[in-house]
């Protein structure tokens, strides 16, 4: 009655997928609560339970910050650690909206971030391990460093996930952000150069062509084009 032992070759034929890849679907929220770059990733299990985690593009990770403390006292009255759930239906759970704060993170450089739920549902638990080991948040964001487990209302989990960005949409959003960052950086350089030149202008004459050249190089980006036009117009107008 002995069955044959599975061959290793069979397994490695298929590419290895991690636990998260096998059982969870990611959904992203970028610029949570309007805060630039503060991105979170919600992992939805095939059983519709959702896990709130940090996305790699969040400043906590992207800027290589070190987490000193995670505090679950989110308002004067609400402490996420007080959450008590009873039974299968998780009765008594704190109810979360997309804008509900889950915790407050303090870094060694004294910067602070609030992490929000991003989905509606019952709070099953927050990750208490973050109290004693706050560094897990950035070291293992998609496993031991998870933020919270949320149970959306029955039948609504998919709807909640649909309001988030898919993996592809998230990649696109990051790319867009990257381009905006580059053009913003260039703008800054531009402004800096201008002010520098204005300083020098007051002492010596300037080459008007320089500005225009700077403006016209970035043909793809609207804001810079506008600016270049403005400058040209300024120049054309008779002095007022």
């Amino acid at each position: 009655m002995d069955a044959p032992i599975s061959k290793m070759a069979d397994l490695e034929g298929k590419a290895y997928r991690t636990v998260v890849d096998r059982y969870y679907t990611p959904g992203y929220r970028t610029d949570v609560q309007g805060r630039h770059r503060e991105d979170l990733c919600i992992l939805q299990h095939s059983n519709k339970v959702c896990i709130v985690t940090l996305a790699a593009s969040h400043p906590l990770m992207a800027d290589g910050k070190t987490v000193a403390r995670v505090d679950f006292q989110v308002t004067e009255k609400v402490n996420r650690l007080d959450n008590k759930v009873i039974g299968k239906g998780k009765r008594g759970a704190q109810w979360l909206q997309e804008s509900s704060p889950l915790c407050r993170v303090t870094c060694t450089d004294n910067t602070e971030f609030t992490l929000y739920s991003c989905i509606k549902g019952k709070l099953v638990e927050v990750n208490e391990n973050l109290i004693n080991s706050p560094q897990l948040l950035t070291e293992k964001p998609s496993s031991e460093g998870y933020i919270a487990i949320v149970l959306p209302k029955f039948g609504e989990s998919d709807k909640e996930m649909a309001r988030l960005l898919s993996q592809q949409q998230y990649q696109d959003a990051l790319e867009r952000r990257g381009r905006e960052a580059t053009s913003e950086a260039r703008e800054r350089d531009l402004v800096q150069a201008r002010s520098k030149m204005e300083e020098e202008e007051s002492s010596s004459s300037t080459d008007p062509g320089k500005d225009q050249a700077g403006g016209s190089k970035d043909s793809g980006d609207e804001p810079n084009q506008k600016r270049a036009k403005l400058e040209v117009t300024d120049k054309e107008q008779p002095s007022s």
Binding site: M1, D2, A3, S6, M8, L11, Y16, T18, V19, Y23, H45, N47, K48, V49, I51, V85, I86, G87, K88, K90, V124, E125, N127, N129, L136, K140, S143, E144, G145, Y146, I149, L151
Partner: protein, 511 residues
């Protein structure tokens, strides 16, 4: 006949019986009820044939030294079996006839009921309570010296007489032994439409037993209010004189015989146990339905139980096992104990050699599972299954993938660990349908079998109820410690097999 009369251990004075016997006969009692109300308790007397009982009744009605042809005498005393009895309404007459018993026999054959034992259950119309009481009061009034102080309880019950009369004869017809504790029951439900309303008067006559709360009365029909208990209570609440003023004592004669409205058979559940192996990684334990859609063609329970249910001709089955494994997990070794409860089986007696054949049939029908030690067990025995689920240990073998390269020596430390206690929070994969809690579970021992720098096979023996997958990958750090924390690296489980379920039940049959 004189000898037989002597056998009738009734009143000490045989002559004293004459008057009550005649009165009962005149009133319309059948021979059986006559004997009952005269106090006969010997079952053998009741087991005489209908003709013989008629003769006995005749003799009781006539003079003790009665002549042979006195049967044609007093016409008033004649009550053949065609005239319904006032006390049993025909249950002890037509209900005991060959014709009726043949009907029971054909029903058994039609529905293929086969059992070693049987017992009978009678459900009689409630108006018989009123009628029997009326007969008793009649006798008490007429023959007070004989019947004062005698209650209906002293009279042999109709149901007992029925079982004495029909039990042995059915035994021969059905080829089953009669036993009052038999798991197989034949239930006969008698009704008598003609006298259906004979209890209605009690509702108004006994306001204490049937409160005339108008709201309640309108809601409940007469049928629901009048039941055996309430009617018994009502009758005892009435004084003799009050009762006699409301009911004719003895009760009126009737034209129709009681009819058996329903003949149903009940068989207690039969339990079949065994052990199963599971070789498929795509087979669920029980039928898997998601949002009304069936996933997967079959299941462990269906593969095992369908044929068993057919063999016992059961109405339905209930499958349970000593714990269970996930769809993608195999069960090896001697397998996992299981129990099948067969509801309303028509066949209950299956000998061991037939069970063996059944087992072979099931095994040859599929390669996904295999069963062994298939046997019938008692209800008491079946309790041992759940003990196995919560108390006994299990052994597993898991294929583990590690994040950082390992050497064989890196696995040696596993063997040094004994009785490691884990704190396991409810795994995320089941948290939608289980309460959130933390459970302590023990891993008794472990060992690692090196495969290559990224894989090894983990063998472990654990307490019942341990979540193995979560122990290996850590379940987001919610199982502490986990293999990940013990090895200080990410570990994942690729495959899991149950090597043994350490339960000694059911009894081993196959080698």
């Amino acid at each position: 006949m004189a000898e037989e009369l002597k056998q009738l251990k009734l009143f000490s004075d045989v002559a004293a019986m004459l008057a009550p016997a005649r009165s009962l006969r005149e009133a319309g009692c059948c021979p059986c009820c006559l004997l009952r109300f005269l106090g006969e308790k010997d079952c053998h007397i009741y087991q005489k044939s209908a003709e013989e009982l008629q003769t006995v009744a005749h003799i009781l009605c006539n003079q003790p030294q009665g002549n042979a042809d006195s049967a044609t005498g007093d016409n008033k005393c004649v009550n053949t079996d065609d005239i319904p009895c006032i006390a049993c309404l025909g249950i002890l007459q037509h209900g005991c006839s060959e014709e009726f018993l043949d009907r029971i026999q054909s029903k058994m054959e039609e529905e293929c009921y086969k059992s070693q034992l049987f017992s009978l259950s009678l459900m009689t119309p409630i108006q018989l309570l009123v009628r029997e009481h009326a007969v008793m009061l009649f006798l008490r009034e007429r023959f007070s010296d004989l019947y004062t102080g005698q209650s209906i309880d002293k009279v042999t019950s109709m149901k007992d007489v029925y079982k004495w009369r029909c039990g042995p004869r059915l035994k021969d017809k059905l080829n089953m032994e009669y036993h009052h504790q038999s798991p197989f029951l034949i239930q006969l439900m008698f009704e008598h439409k003609e006298t259906e309303t004979e209890c209605s008067f009690l509702i108004s006559a006994c306001p204490k037993v049937f409160p005339t709360n108008s709201r309640k009365r309108k809601r409940d029909s007469e049928q629901t209010v009048l039941n055996r208990t309430s009617v018994t209570r009502a009758i005892s609440s009435l004084s003799e004189s009050k009762f006699m003023s409301l009911v004719r004592c003895p009760p009126e004669k009737v034209d129709t015989m009681c009819r058996c409205q329903e003949l149903t058979c009940y068989h207690e559940a039969v339990f079949v146990a065994g052990r199963y192996n599971k070789y498929s990684r795509t087979l669920s334990q029980t039928p898997w339905v998601v949002d009304g859609e069936r996933r997967g063609e079959t299941s462990v329970s269906e593969l095992i139980c369908t044929r068993i249910k057919a063999m016992f001709m059961a109405q339905e089955y209930r499958f349970s096992s000593a714990g269970r494994e996930d769809v993608d997990v195999r069960t090896l070794g001697r397998g996992r104990p299981f129990l099948v409860e067969l509801i309303q089986p028509h066949i209950s007696d299956v000998p061991p050699d037939k069970m063996k054949l059944l087992q072979q049939e099931i095994n040859s029908g599929t390669t996904d599972i295999a069963i062994r030690d298939l046997q019938v067990v008692s209800r008491e025995e079946s309790g041992k299954l759940k003990v196995g689920e919560t108390e006994k240990t299990k052994s597993y073998s898991a294929l583990v993938r590690v994040e950082k390269p390992i050497q064989p020596d890196d696995l040696k430390f596993l063997e040094e660990i004994t009785d490691l206690t884990l704190a396991q929070k409810t795994p995320i994969r089941v948290i939608h349908r289980r309460p959130l809690a933390s459970r302590d579970r023990v891993i008794h021992n472990m060992s690692g079998e090196y495969i290559d720098s990224q894989h090894f096979r983990l063998h472990l023996k654990t307490q019942a109820g341990t979540y193995i997958k979560e122990f290996v990958h850590g379940d987001f750090g919610r199982t502490q410690p986990s293999l990940s924390t013990l090895m200080h690296m990410d570990t994942d489980i690729l495959e899991l097999d149950v090597e043994s379920v350490d339960v000694d039940w059911p009894k081993t049959i196959d080698e």
